[in-house]
Symmetry: D4
Subunit: 219 residues, 8 copies
């Protein structure tokens, strides 16, 4: 009744339907996971808390739960990876879970990733120390909360596609991530496009699409 | 005094500094245009009204002014284009100028473009009639105002990177493009990233970066 | 003291006062339910949690509690239904409770309903598969969260009155349903009017009013 | 190029594409008007200022321009009207243009209308004096600015479908019609659905759809 | 340290400092209550939950706790009341606690009150039934949530000073009382001034000030 | 057609309908002014620009136009004034027009006024110099823009009813008067109620109502 | 992995990296605290709840936890203080924790502080009683919630740098501190700059920087 | 009548009242300028357009009008300057006028200034090229529009007090400077305090106060 799974999505989009775990009951998540597993080679669920994860892991073998990213991932078999990599850059320790969600999603897509964490502009030398690794990535994902200035700084230094994720880290006039969101939309640097607040999944997915379209036959 | 041009940008970003014409005086725009022309092979200025355009065109030969996109473009010589193309899709007649700004920018970058205009969801068959051309693009730019639903529909049908531009077309609870912006950030479709309201330049630029990074040696 | 029931509402509005369960104590809800039951043939309460429902069900026979819709419904006797039906369309699994509230309300009004759930634009063929059933309804209710684009797509395809319900499903720049609300208010499709975020009751009621006024003597 | 007219709309929606005049050039409006006139029996354009209207009227015979509603209307021939009528109620003198846009649209749809203007709640007896005419309408459209309370009062007294239009009349904390919009979305009265701020067209259209679906064969 | 009580307030303002209970610890509230009691004849505390109330009541005799209004009130001796009365009108059952806070405050000020509750515009005859009592009051306080239309209706019918309190009752586009607040600020009726959302205390106080200044020597 | 004047308002509210001049045409204003003049002893119009004022003044003798307040006032005969007075206090030179609108309205009501202007908190001694005159008023109206702190300071020092008017003076994060509006609604001082941004008329009217109800037979 | 500490910050900024305790796990906070302690002479952590504080205090000797300010502070040795002092002024009892965070931070910086609490404008004489102490400070920090008017009043009376902290104390149209924030940004008094809502740390830090730069060699 | 000049401000604040030119008539500005000139040694007026400036310059000798900053400045005699300097840093060419307003104000205060313009983060090497000059300033003012990231970058590199000015440069989701304002309030860098959008005057003034208090006897 409540769920009409989109089994043609792999064909149309190149990646199967992904489960949005938030607001689903343990039973709904479990049932949808199994139904997707039947028809697809990869099943990814995001925003899954430990309790829902447990239920799935008890039944399905080889499901990986990433406690930070809050993702559940199952693959029929570990396939080859695309060449190149996605650089996942984040500003502070607190942006870690969002950055991890992006990383897990890109990896589910078949991408390699490089994590470059806690390099926010309050101590900008930390970023310059890692600049080569960022500049040589195929795509760069930047997650930052508070004022989100890191996206603009990276945008000024890197010639690769940049996908910026505002995080909801902050308080007061942060308004739940609005501050970083506006920063990223108004960036004076070029080549930066933006996804929703805390949407690590969306950024990882878009990064994956770019890499897939670049190396299409490379896997 | 007022302008410290960033002549290293071509090297760092793969494209020279672009002039933001809005809020500059005729003289400022003119002077900056000339100074950039000396050191670069391409000069692009956006948000340039007819009066400022005139002033530049009177002096500089071979400058193209696009009255709809409000762009000024000069190239030292017409170079080769990257393979493939950017599909520029827009929802209504009124989104035309923003879509054109995206197209001009992508072309300045060396990309081919396909314009697919006025195919909004109120008459969705118009979109399906053109679906092949959209699905085969290397990157898809979608510009839409009012509620901006077109981005989600395209996002459900296309496996290529999609860059969505909310436009400020609308009235009342549109709040100057906020409605379409929120739509695009919250899209239930995957592979969609977003630029600022009316930022055709940003979308065209990001599309160019993706194509450049895909075909890097293909030009 | 605290409640002055509006016993003339059935006469004036064609349907008795409905109890808004949120923020009422168990005792208040219970007492108001009994007082309305004395003077009316139908009693509907919305936004009733399980505890308040229990209290009423222990005393009153034949009260139906819908756990998803969170509604309590009592009818003195099951009457005939109006001809035709309300199509209740929703975008995702998470919009289910709001859609159910609309369905229960329309049924309490004496309408038939057809539920067409989880057909959001990310997999738009699911909608096209059901289009006939939607196009032939007397009224169409569309519930959608996130960006709420489904309302515009349905609005482009259907010639019947459409009542759109934005739901609060989403996160980040969704701002508690604001995104879908603005989408629906700014829809470029015609024939769409809108109720408050998560107001399944209001949409079901308006659908009921339209059907009642169409078939007035048809019951 | 810029316009892909939706000539199948009459078939799909029961009413041809309507021109949104705002933001179109005189030439664009004129050309689109002529192209629609070729394939349809009714052409309606909204938000048309006097200059654009002139240009169309100089060429096309029998085009009616309503200076208050800012609408241009052409009908191949005056057809019969549906039975019943739409009551168009407005709160103050300043809501007049929006109310007129709703009236013209409903009439273009083939509906009769009754105008009941300047009956806002500051002098509520003016409303009660006209209550019969409102209660016997098939659909009631209520336009109100400032705080928009009239919609709730009408909603408490009338058993017919009510479509509320918030207008942008007001100042200060009115925020361009936001105040009346929120009022109408949050109305404690039932049977009220809402269209965008100043969207007289949308309300008139939805009223037309309801009447058409009621009397379908009655014309 | 943390509290510098304003013992001159009775002299300057005609009423002693009132304790804002929210966010104070049980101990802070208790201590401040005792210190104020020493120097004043009336002590009023608002937004006091049951636990804090208990602590004060265990020590201080003759303290009245109103569980609905969440107020603690102590008077050295019951004094005479001013002539006339404040009418406290509220729209729905859920506005009850805010209306009660207003009533308790006005009574602490020495005013008589008349409570006229649950007379919202969805059933407007309930208001007309009580109109005389409202029209003859010295001051009228109107509390309403959701869209808050009741204030405008009362404002159209009454020639006495009206103080409107928006309450936070509602959901969705109510935005925590913003809807009713904007309604009341934009009221097309005259003689209405407004206090903060849920500020029953402020409205009761202002009503008290008006009565005190009218009858100054009448007590 | 467009105007249904409320000739019973004098009876119901104690003051005749007042014309809101904004958005009315010269002809509408003129016609409504004459029709109200026939049935009432006082006609007040607010938000009237010089052109509309001219048209009325050319025909009607003894109409006073206040260029600062932008009000038109006609009285059949100059009547007696109520005892006491309204103190009109404003913070800066720029708040002058709003303060004048309040003063003219209170005077039209039959009140005496005392103007105490440009005494904002940046130079608070200017306020203390005039404190007696403020404290002895029957009602105090306080108009302030920017952050509007003056209302709180007056509220801390005066035991009379205070009506606060936020003005739209300011820039940047003032958001058209929102800053002063929020200040006044959240005032930690007691006895302050608030009207809409720039609503000098509303404050003057409410002040008039309070004085009228105090001295009812005193005129 | 998750934390790249900025050990050069003392050198660059004159004060080591400060730990933002909110959103960090007990283990993360503990580990970062120890790592910073190794390389620096002062370690400060803000927004630390009792549980996290305990864990650090059990291991590290001489760590001070301020329960009101929610700060953890460790100093290798108690150094000399700069001459002069920071005046920390707050409006109400509830602003106490934010004021304390500012005080602790300034002291960690090596400044003397004077606390002047609960002197809000509702009883302005309390402020005047302490004016000398405020006027003679080197820097003045003002914390205020609700409407935050105290900052403007202090700004009118003091010739020293003033740093204003809006607090989130309030309800309704306070919107979590927005009201006080806008007040402080729009202050008509001069010499006032503003930090984020509830950012006692930021204000204390800025005060410390001003004093340090004034007396640089004075310690 | 309309202006009560605050001639004690020099004494209280160390700088005389400054004229806010916006919204004042040519005559008001002129009169107030002359009256302030009589009693003070410096007169500064901000937000003065060319027409108002002309009127003052025609009468008063030695008045300097800065066309970019839109300031009028008169000094009885050119006095000595404080030691040290204020660094005025801005991000883009368009922030120039706001930066100039800050510079003129600081100079009126008796400070030296260093202008470091157009060094935004899109080309961050331009900032590093000037870092010494910024790090050695006594106070740093940073003006930036769009996303305002420059303030955070400077904040990470400089140990002096930093005053950030968000400018209204930008479009779309910039919302008139809101984006840069939120960035600066939420900065993860320390030692940054913020003034209102476009408030160059406020930042220059606060910088002046800090320098004055540092070198008090140094002039
Ligand atoms: N209460 C606070 N408010 C704002 N920023 C803070 C606060 N406490 C520490 N910080 C800053 O937050 C940064 C730490 O971010 P993170 O990497 O997430 O630990 C440090 O650079 C501090 O300067
Ligand atoms: N879910 C709902 N959403 C909005 N309004 C409702 C809902 N359920 C009932 N109502 C209305 O709320 C009113 C009851 O308010 P109250 O007096 O507080 O019980 C009734 O007149 C109903 O028409
Ligand atoms: N550009 C400015 N921005 C903010 N405040 C200003 C500005 N220029 C002057 N002021 C202040 O505005 C006040 C003048 O207000 P008014 O009485 O309306 O002239 C003075 O106290 C100044 O300190
Ligand atoms: N419910 C309330 N809403 C608004 N203000 C209140 C309320 N109750 C008391 N107050 C005011 O809050 C102030 C006390 O603030 P504080 O110093 O934090 O205790 C007093 O001056 C009261 O006038
Ligand atoms: Mg860190
Ligand atoms: Mg079109
Ligand atoms: Mg689904
Ligand atoms: Mg009227
Ligand atoms: Mg009720
Ligand atoms: Mg002044
Ligand atoms: Mg206190
Ligand atoms: Mg530049």
């Amino acid at each position: 009744g409540y769920a009409k799974l989109d089994h043609r999505r792999q064909k149309r989009k190149g990646f199967p339907e992904v489960i949005f775990g938030e607001g689903k009951t343990v039973d709904q998540l479990y049932e949808i996971f199994l139904r997707l597993k039947e028809k697809n080679d990869t099943v990814l669920a995001t925003r899954v808390d430990a309790e829902k994860a447990d239920r799935v892991q008890q039944t399905v073998a080889d499901v990986q739960y990433n406690r930070d990213a809050r993702t559940l991932l199952w693959k029929r078999q570990e396939g080859p990876r695309y060449p190149g990599y996605v650089a996942i850059v984040c500003a502070g320790t607190s942006d870690f879970p969002v950055a991890e969600e992006a990383a897990v999603t890109a990896e589910a897509f078949g991408c390699n990733t490089e994590r470059i964490y806690d390099v926010g502009v309050a101590g900008i030398h930390r970023l310059f120390d890692q600049l080569d690794k960022i500049q040589q990535a195929d795509v760069v994902v930047v997650a930052a909360g508070m004022e989100g200035a890191l996206a603009s700084v990276v945008g000024g230094l890197v010639s690769r596609p940049i996908i910026a994720i505002p995080t909801s880290i902050g308080y007061g006039a942060n308004f739940g991530g609005l501050s970083a969101l506006l920063t990223m939309l108004n960036s004076c640097s070029t080549g930066v496009s933006v996804v929703n607040i805390d949407n690590g999944f969306g950024a990882g997915y878009s990064a994956g699409v770019i890499i897939k379209n670049k190396y299409e036959k490379g896997i």
